[in-house]
Amino acid sequence: MKKFGGLVLFIFGILLICQIAAADESNWGNIDWVQFKGTQLNVLATSMPVSEVYKSKIAEFEELTGIKVNFELLNDVDRKKKQLVDYASGMGEYDVANVGFSNREEFAQPGYMESLQPYLDNPKLTDKDWYNIDDYPKDVLAGGISGDKLVMIPFTAEYFLLWYRKDIFSLLNLTPPKTPTELKDVAAKLEEARKDGKIEEFAFIERTMSGASEGGWNLFCTAHRLGFDFVDFKDMISYTNTPKGIEIMSFYTDLCKQYGPPGSANWTWTDIGAAAAQGKLAMVVGGNASYAYLEDKNTSKVAGKMGYVPPPMENGKDPLWIWGWAINAKSKNKEAAWLLVQWLTSPNLITEMAPLYGCPARKSVYSLPEYIEAMPSQEFIDSQLWMMENGIDPDTQFLLTPMYGEVADLVSKEMNAVVAGIKTVEQACQDAEAALIKIGFKASVQ
């Protein structure tokens, strides 16, 4: 009997060790992940590469927690509209949704986004040591804070990079531009080479299609990198029709008109990415997250040929852009929703997914061998790290106001009219300012 009892104890001990080892191997922190088993969550996300990866992983969350997740992907414009209608109606249809940085205040100020700090501080819901929120760079996490409330947890850290064709630059003995003046010079040399028949690619492109999330975004960011903002949202002053405003508008539209492909004034971001991947462009100011389109050997003609450096700057920095996960303040399953948000932004999942989308919000990932191995080049990683440490301005004022959408749309429409040859730069700046004054801005006194 004693022998039998010893055997039972031995087996029990082995099982316990196996259990601990298994728990350690899965390493999902010290909380009860199945406490909301049987709950159903609805998630709304923008259709983009990182969301596709998330969607492919959701089954693992369902297995871990027993929570059923409906993961819906929509293009960004429709995602935002549907999210806004859901928030404003108070129906709480979507428990969790991704939120872009520029939408943060639009949703946070009316109280549509749940404050996440109480969930983060609740030991029943979060193992803080395991979750390690300090892994987020301070400026990146600040992107998820509205007022004094943490309203979304970032999962990407994005900014612009200058994409350039290494083979063409090598052929023409050019170096990537660092300043706006150098950008103009290099673009002129590339255009000259194209006219001489040395290359077929067009020199340069930025988005000029009107719209706050199209040309408006690029225009405002380019201006910010040059130390200028078209408007001051705090004091509601427009600088659009000032000499500096006209100079920046001229710089932007001249570059796009002189060196961009014909017809590109109507191109969305997807069209530009497709043109770059098809080898039609020599230089693009584009997002770091888009490298995946360019480096896909199955679909891109320029895979392995692209270089990535910080975009030309002078007296300014690039605005930080983050995507974050947020909980609907009207959700009926907030605690289960937090488990999902925590899982989506966990060190485990971000580490696993980062090599697939390239721009994780957690800094520890950037030094992992599997991440480095998956990136197109060390230049790409170095450029990202340089941008995170030196090149971004996390307090970019124009992004942190609900009025950004309207203002950027109005200004970008005038910019687009210049590129279309309908208006002069001076007329466009004057008209943009008149439109801004109509919605409450004052003209600057200079």
Binding site: K80, K81, L84, A88, E106, F107, Q109, P110, M209, S210, G211, A212, E214, P261, P262, G263, S264, A265, N266, D271, A275, K280, P402, G405, E406, D409, K413, E414, N416, A417, V419, A420, G421, I422, K423, K438
Partner: protein, 311 residues
Amino acid sequence: MVSSHGGISTPMRIQRTTQEDRRFIIWSILPSLFAVVLVGGVPVLYTFILSLKNYQLIKPPGVFIGLGNYIDLLTNNPRYIHAILFTILFAVGAVVIEIVIGFLVASVLADEEVTSRYSSLIRTLILIPFVVAPVVVSYTYKTLIYDVTFGYLNYFLQLVHLPVFDLSQGIYSAPIGILVMEVILRTPFVTLILFAGISSIDASIFDAGAIDGVSWWKRMYLLTLPIIKPIIVVAFAFRFMDALKMFDEIYVITGGGPGYITENASIFAVRYGFEYFRMGYAAASAFIFLIVVLVLIMSFLKWSKFEEGMA
């Protein structure tokens, strides 16, 4: 009154039957009436109430401002006036072209010789653009046909050394590009309606004309057109209302640009509602547009003497 059986009914019987009929009619239409009020009346009423408020999605709740949104739109927003004018001119232009082409194609299809040989093939072919979703057609036109870098149209234009057609340049290219696409996309609908009308004309009328030596043009002008006028009016009214509320095509191809050139009333309302979050303002713009559409359609029907034609 004569009963359905042909005899003269007693007054009592007439009254009882009428009451039953009335009750039956009321109960029959009640579900439909309820559905119409629910999906049509309630949203219109809600839109009207919303239009009287300064209601912003991101700053709820709304504040009642009476006709403030209406006054601002009509007196202080040239962008809105442009959108309304563009919408009406574009719709008139598109539908007139569609009716003319649709009538000619329908006449050819209704020709007995063509009908006996190729009609089913032609009808199938012209239905192709009609059955594809407008968004898909619009994106196809934008990227595969009109695009200067990737599009077939400009590829062929360049082959024959003609200037490229660039939607994003100047004030005429974008409206023309959308108009051409709209005509190709929607003409089949008009053609089918007019084809049905022409086919229903008694052949003996044309035979009588032929005996009198009436030319093809005179036959069209003096016989076909007057006979199918009510059908043309219906086709025009349907298509006109449809063209006035066009959204997908413009949204995909130009987004309302360049500048504000192709921004119509629908794009304007969506932009103010969902991008600027001014729901009250957007609702007022939609309501004004609703009134404009009603006035235009009623004026057109009156001008065309539609009811007389039907009689």
